[in-house]
Amino acid sequence: AQTVTQSQPEMSVQEAETVTLSCTYDTSENNYYLFWYKQPPSRQMILVIRQEAYKQQNATENRFSVNFQKAAKSFSLKISDSQLGDTAMYFCAFMKPQHNNNDMRFGAGTRLTVKP
């Protein structure tokens, strides 16, 4: 079974600074997908960024980027120029694609607070 570990229950960052959230996972699979989800205080989970394991290039979405280290099974999220609206719970997720069933495994989450 795959497990996902987020070792930082809470983090804080000053507005406009950069913060990195860590995530490690355990799998014997070679092909898989990784995701970061954001859950703001309004509670709806939204997808921030995704990474395919077969791609060496790190995914980037505007101020959000990942550092994917496949050999180390590490998938950290970097948020640049942090904004107050980035305050949220962040969940790292692992997915092993299977036909007709995209089952995901989530970490425990990191609560990020952006301070003015």
């Binding site: 997908y33 989970m45 995704r50 036909h99 069933n101």
Partner: protein
């Protein structure tokens, strides 16, 4: 945009009651999921369904059942609610038969069992 709608945002029930949590998605997704979210534990999968009338147990199915009579609707049932089922419940859906399809979530239902 995908819309996943959960029928209630807050729900208070009593121990022993039968509780229904409803979820509807409007994007013709094959896969639907029910999670519970607890502090320090993240999201844990209760049940999922990859087709109408199909269901599969997740990691913590005990005390729960599900129903998927129509493709767009996936119901979570607490047969006899207990206080340890007080939690946030999240429904999600995703496109089936294709890789790399992320799950889309509803707003969640915060359920309290008294």
């Amino acid at each position: 945009d995908v819309k996943v709608t959960q029928s209630s945002r807050y729900l208070v029930k009593r121990t022993g009651e039968k509780v229904f949590l409803e979820c509807v998605q409007d994007m013709d997704h094959e896969n639907m999921f029910w999670y519970r979210q607890d502090p320090g534990l993240g999201l844990r999968l209760i049940y999922f369904s990859y087709d109408v009338k199909m269901k599969e147990k997740g990691d913590i199915p005990e005390g729960y059942s599900v129903s998927r009579e129509k493709k767009e609707r996936f119901s979570l049932i607490l047969e006899s609610a207990s206080t340890n089922q007080t939690s946030m419940y999240l429904c999600a859906s995703s496109l089936g038969g294709a890789d790399n399809q992320p799950q889309h979530f509803g707003d969640g239902t915060r359920l309290s069992i008294l």
